[in-house]
Symmetry: C2
Subunit: 203 residues, 2 copies
DNA sequence: TTGATAAGTTAGTGGCGCTAACATATGTTA
DNA sequence: TAACATATGTTAGCGCCACTAACTTATCAA
């Protein structure tokens, strides 16, 4: 399928369109990209997408899902590169946080789409599930750190605390809001520091 | 001006439109509201706004500015209600953080507009300045807490650390992302806890 | 070979942001 | 008070967009 050309049928339009949209989202933002332009990039008419997606929203959900998959991969990779999870070591958790911010830095448009609510792509079941699996990477690591189960509410509460910080860091960085602080900001260093302080013993 | 009616000239269209847009932004998001609908609400033709604003973006900047003013007021009020700023007390700083989250909760559309970047309203000088003044509320409180000047970089760095957390909390809450954690979350309580832990001694 | 279906096309609709040309109200000055 | 300049409305229309209807062509299975 990938090598088909010059046929009346495109061959793999759904995934080509998803990729084109992802590119446009990084350029224009999820709110302002146009399907029409993605069609030009893919070399098809503006009506073609509607054979694969019911509406614009569906394409965005497809993009969000692929974003969550990429983010999960990058978090796992960063975690594994950070050494073992031993008592008192916060490096693996901090590495997950820095991967989270790193993903946002590289894919700001996708990041806003994945976590924003206009459009709200999270009500789609598969997007929701993919996002949930992404969050569970952090949950598992915090559970191991605390010596508790992933289901324990103390595990969840601490994970949410950590998530909140890195989400703020990612958001403020990609939206250029740190500029208001009039000082040089080392976001990764902040994540290290905040992880250490927020983990500080059990609640 | 406020009581004029039935005249050919509207009287106060700019501020009526700004208010209509702010209402629509809360309903549809800053990306999806339409000027046309705001015109219907104000009872004027779709061309009328362009006598007061060069383009859609200008109306959004007007909305963002009024949002920052409201947020600043609410932060000041919450801070003053939290008692004196004495050594070891973090209540005033936490109160500012909770007011930040509270503003976002009550005005999610305006909040996203103020801190988001699509559309980017912060390049407008007066918006930028109003936002800067808002941030300085926190800076001053942290400076007093540390016994340092607002200009000291340690003051700024710690302020940014605190801001990052509350911004994450506000964003995740209004975008319904905490749902992924599958547990009850007390955001205000989290802000208290995080403020205490992040303040913990000097960097 | 054929016939159902998948996946393209063109043409068109209604809504949008925005502009041009025009109309009317307001306020200043002779 | 008359008349002009300017501010602030109007209608009409452009080009772009999401999306649909009706049609055409390719693919695959019987």
């Amino acid at each position: 399928m990938a090598t088909m050309k010059k046929t009346y049928h495109h061959g793999d339009l759904a995934s080509v369109l998803t990729q084109a949209v992802r590119t446009l989202i990084e350029r224009d933002g999820a709110a302002h990209f146009s399907i029409a332009e993605a069609c030009k990039m893919a070399g098809v008419s503006t009506a073609a997408p509607y054979k694969h997606f019911k509406e614009k929203q569906d394409i965005l959900e497809s993009v969000a899902k692929s974003g969550f998959q990429d983010m999960t991969e990058e978090m796992i990779e960063a975690r594994d590169a950070a050494g073992p999870n031993e008592a008192g070591r916060a490096e693996r958790i901090a590495a997950i946080g820095k991967a989270y911010v790193g993903f946002a830095r590289k894919n700001p448009g996708a990041f806003r789409l994945m976590f924003g609510s206009s459009p709200n792509v999270k009500e789609n079941d598969t997007v929701h599930e993919t996002g949930h699996r992404c969050f569970s990477i952090l949950i598992e690591e915090v559970a191991a750190h605390l010596g508790m189960t992933p289901d324990d509410d103390r595990t969840k509460q601490l994970s949410v605390l950590l998530w909140t910080f890195v989400h703020g860091a990612a958001s403020l960085e990609i939206d250029n809001d740190y500029e208001a602080a009039d000082t040089v900001i080392d976001v990764d260093g902040m994540v290290d520091l905040a992880t250490y302080r927020l983990l500080n013993t059990v609640n």
